[in-house]
């Protein structure tokens, strides 16, 4: 019998399995590029909103989709990193940048190596997200920008429910088959704790439509998004599981609607030029005067 390491409650995902999944998916990811591109474009829209010029970008887990979009925005120096060397090579191949295999939990970059870090649909498999964010912030120059999109709570919810229902019926119990996703409220706090200035987290929904449930499963696999939850049931699933779950997915006019709830994180590496909130009590004009109203006490003193 091989001895299993003691279970660590902080480790949810099997990073080694994820690397194998992404190695395998490097050959098929082109098939799902339109979905990945749509998500990346939503994220990179934020670059077009700023007057900053970025010159050194790190693409985390961009699967050959993000690097060309960065190149198209005139960024000269692009490094693509992925757990899988083959997947990182896709970034190099598609945009002529540099590639390395690396782990977001063990970032291998010197401080202030980049002025832009983009993680489009890659951080949701990281066990220690707060730790990864701190390392990303350190890899940024002052006033550098971090942009990330993660699938949020609600993504693949119909699939999660269909699988749970089918498994309960066939096995009398359920095991995790869809990755747990973070909630919007968690993310802004995480950014702040990691030392990012002006952190913003918001949500957008990407509506996809699949002809059949099997096409959805095939796409998830092609993107390397198979189940990598450590507590997954290692037994071979009953043959009837996927067809039964598929029959329970909601259908609209012969198509399976799938929601990808994208959570977007934006944060800046701190720099003295950035605006900072004034100290409480440092105002020289009354708000009430400016508004032309009578000032009333809220029953508490301003902090000192």
């Amino acid at each position: 019998m091989n001895a299993l390491p003691p279970p660590d409650p902080m480790r949810v995902f099997d990073r080694r399995l994820l690397r194998l999944r992404r190695d395998r998916a490097a050959a098929t990811v082109q098939g799902v590029a339109p979905v990945l591109e749509a998500a990346a474009e939503l994220l990179l829209d934020r670059l077009d909103d700023t007057t900053h010029r970025f010159t050194r970008a790190l693409d985390l887990g961009g699967r050959g989709v993000v690097a060309p979009l960065l190149r198209a925005r005139g960024i000269p120096f692009i490094v693509s990193m992925d757990l899988s060397a083959r997947m990182a090579a896709k970034g190099r191949e598609m945009a002529g940048g540099l590639a390395l295999a690396g782990d977001e939990e063990w970032l291998p970059f010197a401080p202030e190596s980049f002025d832009l870090v983009v993680a489009s649909l890659s951080l949701h498999w990281v066990n220690d997200l707060p730790g990864a964010l701190v390392q990303i912030r350190r890899a940024l120059k002052p006033d550098g920008l971090f942009l990330a999109a993660l699938p949020g709570l609600g993504t693949l919810q119909a699939l999660r429910e269909a699988l749970a229902g089918a498994e309960t019926e066939l096995r009398g119990g359920i095991s995790p088959r869809v990755s747990p996703f973070p909630d919007l409220r968690d993310l802004a706090g995480l950014l702040q704790r990691a030392g990012f200035a002006m952190p913003v987290a918001d949500a957008e929904t990407l509506h996809l439509s699949y002809r059949s449930p099997m096409a959805l499963f095939a796409d998830l696999r092609a993107a390397g998004e198979g189940n990598a939850v450590l507590a997954r049931d290692g037994r071979i699933p009953p043959r009837a599981l996927l067809p039964l779950a598929a029959s329970r997915l909601p259908e609209e006019g012969g198509a399976i609607p799938v929601e990808l709830r994208l959570l977007t994180m934006t944060g800046w590496a701190p720099h003295e030029s950035q605006g900072r909130p004034a100290r409480p009590g440092s105002a020289t004009h009354r708000l009430a005067e400016a508004l032309g109203v009578e000032e009333r006490s809220a029953g508490e003193k301003a902090g000192r």
Binding site: L100, A101, A110
Partner: protein
């Protein structure tokens, strides 16, 4: 000899601008490029990260322990 072509590095050449920013993922310390072996060596962590097809593999799991015999 300066006019001799350098022998090809095993694992392929790594772009110098990438070498400039890479550090050991475990110690965040500097790396030594062992061109002859095609490895990035972290003396502090006693680990050597392999280079395959010009791609540095900066994963602690995949690194060779310096104290182990060479493969």
């Amino acid at each position: 000899m300066s006019d001799m072509p350098k022998p090809a590095a095993p694992g392929g050449e790594v772009d110098p601008s990438l070498l400039e920013i890479l550090v050991c993922p475990v110690t965040k310390g500097t790396l030594r490029y062992d061109r002859a072996r095609g490895e990035l060596v972290s003396d502090a962590a006693r680990l050597a990260y392999p280079i395959r097809d010009g791609i540095p593999i900066m994963l602690p799991d995949e690194a060779r322990r310096l104290d182990d015999p060479a493969p």
